[in-house]
Amino acid sequence: MTPTGTLQVADPVLDVRGLSARYGHVEALKSADISAGKGELVAVLGPNGAGKSTLLRAIMGLIPNEGEVRFLGNSLPRRDPVGAATKGVVLVPEGRGIFGPMTVLENLELGAYKIGGDRQEMERRLTHVFELFPRVKERLKQVAGSMSGGEQQMVAVGRAMMADPKVLLLDEPSLGLAPRVTGEILETLGTLSASGLPVVLVEQKAPLALKLACRAYLLSLGRIVATINPREVKSHDELAQYYFA
């Protein structure tokens, strides 16, 4: 483990510098620096209330923020989630954010909203999602809100992939899911990352995230207190010690 900010990426796809955000008078995120390069899966770890979700929401411009978010070398506008998504920064939010009363197919199609009426491209992207989550293909006509939590999470990740993201952000994808389903989804994230897609994974289940991540940022009280190389974490005790330090 190293002090914050010492593990630099040579050519990051997503480069966050000095990002801060507040809710009223409470500063929920304090000058956070993180980056993710091509093919990297980076984890953001920390206890409840550490500011992990706030970090992702600030990157997307969903909340007022200060600092800089650079994507492929250019600054992202401070408060423009639609613009960020259109450029290829795609967030799977906490709680999945699926459109419950709509069908699975409609959810997936909306993920590719920006391509317009290009049916050929739509079919190509759907095929890719079906390769990642074969179970989704069997449920296309089903109302998304009637699916199990795990299946909904697959739809949420599938919908994000329909946007053909250049960087994928995920906020607690394992929340409320059975271990087997969590494993299945995290395995898919590993596959995506291995194919070159930068992934930023916010996760409370640190051991699971560290298995996949090439780098992890530890957040505490809104501040990144350490950058962790998962290969250097010898035991759960060592991680726990750092967690609660």
Binding site: P81, V82, A85, F99, G117
Partner: protein, 292 residues
């Protein structure tokens, strides 16, 4: 005319006006679903539908169909203006919902008064769509304008359903109504969808006004009573449910028609408000259950 024929005649008249209430109610639902706002300028859109058609025919000698289409476009534009000039600035400042609702009421008054200044205060009417004698069905006379209203309304409801179910924009509008933040995260332009909701709602109001005016009249101040009826229809149907609003409108029209027949015209509004109270007490979520 015996009692049975009188009742049937009233029922047909009730369904006909109920269809109009339903269309106005759907207008309320479209905006409410997109933004959570109850748009009390909806009545102004109904008034503008008939009034602009009248002005385009009388002052600009346009053919009826062209004038009606022109009125729909003009009212849609007014809807966009209400959203951009009245609702959006408050929305951007995160104004309380109550303030935004009051602002739409203010917009209604401004549109009314502008119409009064630009046209006049006299009631106007439009010719019936078909200049044909009523159809007689077993002693019950059905005039063609009522048929136009009923058929037109059903057609509009079906077209609206197809729009929301099959088109990319319609699906995006539904997504925004379900979860605006998640929609933004898919790159759906949420603010544009809000504008579109106002345009669509205004056009629906205009259509209702155009269908209605040949059977009654339009005047600068006729919007509010129809807005109230549309609002009641939306509540009866389950606020936010377009199909519910349409059914609620028909229920409201039928109750009013029965009240006029049985108790006299003075009880028309009593019946409408009693129905509203009944639903608020017994089934506040309406016929189909509200969306929020």
């Amino acid at each position: 005319m015996d009692n049975m024929h009188l009742v049937l005649q009233s029922l047909i008249s009730g369904i006909s006006i109920g269809c109009v209430y339903g269309l106005i109610g759907i207008g309320f639902c479209v905006i409410y679903n997109a933004s959570g706002i109850v748009n009390f300028a909806q009545g102004a859109f109904v008034m503008l539908g008939g009034m602009v058609t009248y002005v385009l025919i009388e002052r600009f000698q346009m053919p009826y169909v062209v004038a009606a289409l022109g009125a729909i476009v003009v009212t849609g534009f007014v809807g966009a203006c209400v959203e951009r000039l009245v609702v959006r600035p408050l929305w951007n400042r995160s104004a309380p919902m109550f303030v935004m609702i009051l602002a739409t009421l203010a917009a209604q008054i401004v549109i009314e008064r502008l119409t009064y200044i630009l046209v006049d205060d006299q009631p106007k009417t439009l010719p019936a769509f078909s200049d044909l004698p009523p159809i007689m069905l077993g002693g019950v006379a059905i005039n063609f304008q009522s048929l136009w209203i009923m058929a037109g309304s059903v057609l509009i409801v079906v077209a609206l359903g197809l729009f929301f179910k099959t088109t990319r924009t319609g699906k995006a509008m539904r997504a925004v109504s379900i979860n605006a933040e998640a929609a933004a995260l898919q790159g759906i332009p949420v603010s544009l969808m809000l504008t579109l909701a106002f345009v669509l709602s205004a056009m629906l109001g205009a259509l209702a006004g155009i269908l209605l005016t040949p059977t009654q009249y339009t005047a600068f101040n006729m919007g509010v009573p129809f807005a109230i009826s549309g609002f009641i229809a939306a509540i009866i149907g389950g606020f936010g449910r377009p199909l519910g609003a349409f059914l609620g409108g028909i229920a409201l029209g039928l109750i009013q028609a029965m009240a006029i027949l049985g108790l006299g015209a003075g009880f028309k509004n009593v019946a409408a408000l009693s129905l509203l109270l009944l639903f608020l007490f017994v089934r506040p979520s309406g016929l189909l259950g509200s969306t929020r």
